[in-house]
């Protein structure tokens, strides 16, 4: 068994080099396809990280009555903080609220209307971050129950849902594109491995006529396909490594809000994906192609 494995591996290595034009052509295809896939995965991961950042901004906001005293507010906040759906609770004073509003309208290019107001109209508020932006649970009810402190709870449900629709659409769109490109990559790679095997159909036929069993014919080809995939993956990773610096700078510029540890983790996943799909597709392509000649 081990002997057969070693034997097949040696055969595969020979086969690769004796067909070197074909092998390198197949490898080149492999590299381009893996790059395409890796690039897409990286972009989508970045997009996803960006979307998550937006989603994390979703929160429940309770406007407080002007008369609420600090201890009352503290008590209300403690009660909310105890809920399992809640990840964080913050107090925003009247002044902070006005400041934020001014910044917001300025950023929107709207004229600052707060100057013409006789007094600060913004209420103080409690901001509640949720563990899952779609699971409100008891949060709203709990806040509304604090009648002596809370004036009104901002029902951001609509906004949240609108936002989540957008991010969801982008995510699904991204996954669909990834799926389609993945399928394309799959077929292209299988196809080019197949072309290389088709060109050697005569060889397979001769081997069989001389008494080679199916396994004897198949495994060297499968290993050769894996070799093509591995080589393709290595080249791809090399290219990605070279492109890493400029690429990650571009990513940070684009999705300014990414968590800092994004790059390292994603690259490890991408490397696994590239090597896995390279080797896997190479093996599968050879297996399928050789099978159609062995089936006869």
């Amino acid at each position: 068994m081990l002997r057969f494995l070693v034997f097949s591996l040696r055969r595969a290595w020979q086969g690769f080099w004796r067909n070197v034009v074909m092998s390198l052509a197949a490898t080149a295809t492999m590299v381009l396809m893996l790059l395409l896939m890796a690039g897409l995965v990286i972009v989508l991961t970045g997009l996803n990280a960006g979307l998550e950042y937006f989603e994390r901004k979703v929160e429940v906001e309770a406007f407080l009555v002007n008369e609420a005293s600090p201890p009352e507010i503290e008590a209300a906040m403690a009660e909310v903080r105890a809920l399992p759906e809640v990840s964080a609770v913050r107090y925003v004073s009247k002044e902070e609220a006005l400041q934020r509003f001014r910044e917001f309208t300025a950023a929107q290019g709207q004229p600052d209307l707060t100057d013409v107001l006789p007094s600060n109209p913004m209420p103080a508020s409690i901001e509640v971050d949720l563990v899952d932006p779609l699971v409100y649970g008891e949060v709203v009810k709990t806040l509304e129950a604090q009648e002596e402190v809370v004036d009104a709870v901002l029902q951001t449900r609509d906004v949240v849902e609108a936002l989540l629709t957008v991010t969801g659409t982008l995510r699904i769109g991204g996954l669909v594109v990834l799926g389609l490109v993945g399928l394309t990559v799959f077929f292209i790679v299988i196809n080019s491995v197949r072309l290389a095997v088709v060109a050697r159909a005569d060889e397979i036929e001769i081997m069989r006529l001389v008494g080679a069993s199916d396994a004897f014919v198949r495994w060297p080809f499968v290993f050769e396909g894996m070799l093509v995939g591995l080589l393709g993956a290595i080249v791809t990773l090399g290219v990605l490594a070279l492109a890493y610096q400029p690429l990650s700078r571009l990513m940070f510029d684009f999705f300014q809000v990414l968590p800092l540890d994004f790059g390292r983790f994603v690259m490890r996943d991408v490397a696994l994906l590239v090597v896995g799909s390279g080797v896997g597709l190479g093996a599968l392509g050879s297996y399928v192609s050789v099978r159609s000649y062995l089936a006869r």
């Binding site: 034997f7 004796r18 005569d202 069989r208 006529l209």
Partner: protein, 253 residues
Amino acid sequence: MILAPQRSPEGAGGAAPGRRAEAVPLIALHDVAKVYPNGRQALIDVDLLIPEGDFVFLVGPSGAGKSTLIKLLIRDELPTRGAVFFDGRDVVRLRRGEVPRMRRRIGIVFQDYKLLPRKSVAENVAFALEVTGALGRVVRPAVERALAIVGLTAQRDQLPTQLSGGELQRTAIARALVHEPKVIIADEPTGNLDPLTSWEIIQLLLRINDLGTTVLMATHNAEVVTALRRRVVALEEGRVVRDELGGAYHREY
């Protein structure tokens, strides 16, 4: 399976005596016909028994069906009608895994050599041993011996594209011998060889035959056939028209 031995005594009729008619026939064709998909009838009504240890020349004009008959024996083609037996087993009904095992017991010299184009002479010869699962340390000396026999030791590392016609043919012969098969089937093995080398190959086959290996050889070499006076089976337009012991090449085809 049982058919072949049973029918052997009377099977082939008057035309096919066979040197050792009582022996179990190693190769048996019963009422075989082969029509190729394009409609060409390559073999008709072929009955042939070859006992173990026989030496048979297969002669006939170009296109008579000699190679087709050989292809049926190794299950490269399937007969349209009739049965083909090798060592008592119906070749057509072999299960997938059994076909390679059957082929490994035969040494075949193909008319078009069928060498692996990207393997050297030595690797091509070694291949026939490797498929039997032989160990590396057995393969090397056996290959060297076979190459020495056909006189290709100097060419051992050349690729088929770097060989002369006769060298290609000798590589094919070496590959057919190397695993010491039960039967050697050679399709026109001396067509590209000079008379001297041809005689050497024939002498070799005769010696191997003396050691018990059955030999079936398709050939146009009238001189050899006539000189050796062995069994001659003559095909013409797909039919066996002659099957005689100690025959000559006879008629100018």
